[in-house]
């Protein structure tokens, strides 16, 4: 079994850790450094609950090994806002009731965050297309689409 030392940036902070090769990035974030905001819903790359942003792009943390994140810049839901000061996207989720149990929510947020960085004015259809990579059993998706549109608008306004 191989263990390795890795150095990466998580939410802007340098992290150094020794990890077993088979440990995936989701488990690393949750177990090794205690960032339990990233959730694990299927471990086979379909549900999207584990979605984080790696070097600016959305990625399934369950399909990446922690060792592969050596040198990478990883962003998780914990980077977005705080309970006292939600990000625009988080605030839009709250206003639209785009979360119920909250389990899919971190993955949804990181997916939409990644989308809004590359596409500032997505259409309803584009958002639904992108959200096809994130499953939610609670909301029926509509409120999430609404929230993404609101957040896009809010961001455009503040830019």
């Amino acid at each position: 079994m191989s263990a390795r030392k890795i150095n990466l940036t998580v939410n802007g902070e340098a992290v150094e850790a020794e990890v077993e090769a088979r440990l995936n990035l989701a488990d690393f974030l949750r177990q090794a450094i205690g960032l339990t905001g990233t959730h694990v819903g299927c471990e086979h790359g379909v549900c999207g609950a584990c979605t984080v942003i790696v070097d600016g792009r959305p990625a399934r943390a369950c399909l990446m090994l922690a060792v592969q994140a050596d040198g990478a810049k990883v962003e998780t839901v914990e980077s977005l806002g705080t309970p006292e000061s939600l990000s625009e996207l988080q605030q839009a989720f709250r206003d639209r009731h785009a979360l119920q149990c909250g389990f899919c929510t971190p993955g949804m947020l990181m997916t939409i965050e990644a989308l809004l960085r590359v596409e500032g004015s997505p259409t309803r259809e584009e958002i639904r297309d992108v959200l096809s990579g994130n499953l939610c059993r609670c909301t029926g998706y509509q409120a999430i689409v609404d929230a993404a549109l609101d957040a896009a608008e809010a961001r455009r306004g503040t830019r």
């Binding site: 086979h44 999207g48 990446m64």
Partner: protein, 289 residues
């Protein structure tokens, strides 16, 4: 669903990679990981060694020459989709990529990974078939070129030998202004297609077809070129009869059945998507690219 233990290697050069391939037993190559890692997590594969080729610097990239487009094996689907050059040269690729997995998987998934894993319903190997690709592979015993016709060996099986890796894929360029059409049917966005088809058409001045390529995927274990139809098409003008012939041939493929659909439905769909892809490819608006 935790991966079984393995020893991890991340070579930094092609030479290091070849050294590892020569030396290690029961090793697997890790590209984008969007198929291999789920298989590890389900423990349907359990390699002793995992060779991560993500850190070899020159395995990714898109290069255009007069006759060809060369895609590094580790080029991410995301980058293929974003490439303006590629969109201008082979617009069908961008169109097809919208059906490859999801926004969140195209960021890591690679064309080489897709072509070596060879899911029957995968779009990228089908495009390779459409563009008469050549696969540039290398290993301890040297490099070789595999023609597309030899690449698809069977269900989830490519011509890549045990100790080889895929370096790049060379697609034959089609002239500017060629017609293209892509159609697939999947239950949900991003799902593997039950059946899909891609078509390229080049027209002569007199509106006769000069050259045609049609691929059907998801139907047989590997993508299938409808060579006979392509030959019939050449020299003809586009017509309903031509479409009907193409659809009939696609519907005569030796379709797979699985837990979800019967072979008969797959054959039927093969005809439908072939007809749709060709119709798109023949649309004049499509040819002015």
């Amino acid at each position: 669903m935790k991966a079984p233990p393995f020893t991890y290697h991340d070579p930094r050069s092609r030479d290091d990679l070849i050294g590892l391939l020569a030396e290690l037993e029961n090793a697997k190559l890790l590209a984008g990981g969007q198929s291999l890692v789920p298989m590890l997590n389900f423990r349907v594969v359990a390699p002793d060694h995992l060779i991560d080729i993500n850190r070899i610097p020159d395995l990714a990239g898109i290069r255009l020459s007069a006759n060809a487009v060369v895609l590094g094996a580790m080029t991410r689907q995301w980058d293929l989709q974003a490439s303006a050059d590629l969109a201008a040269t082979a617009p069908i690729i961008r169109e097809a990529l919208a059906h490859v997995g999801h926004f969140q998987t195209r960021s890591r998934g690679t064309i080489g990974g897709s072509c070596c894993h060879l899911d029957p319903a995968a779009e990228l190997p089908a495009l390779c078939a459409l563009f008469d690709a050549e696969f540039d592979v290398a290993g301890p015993n040297g490099a070789r070129i595999v023609k597309v016709g030899d690449w698809f060996k069977g269900y989830l099986e490519s011509a890549l030998e045990e100790r080889e890796y895929l370096q790049s894929i060379r697609l034959r360029r089609w002239p500017a202004g060629h017609g293209y059409g892509f159609s697939e049917y999947a239950r949900r966005r991003g799902d593997f297609a039950i059946a899909g088809a891609g078509a390229l058409l080049e027209f002569a001045e007199d509106a006769r077809i000069r050259r045609a390529a049609i691929v059907v995927f998801g139907v047989e274990p590997g993508p299938v070129r409808l060579v006979e139809v392509e030959q019939i098409l050449v020299g003809q003008t586009f017509s309903e009869a031509v479409l009907a012939e193409a659809a009939a041939q696609a519907s005569a493929l030796d379709a797979m059945a699985d837990v979800h659909v019967s072979a008969a439905y797959r054959r039927h769909l093969a005809g439908v998507v072939t007809r749709r892809a060709l119709t798109e490819a023949a649309r004049p608006a499509r040819q002015a690219v």
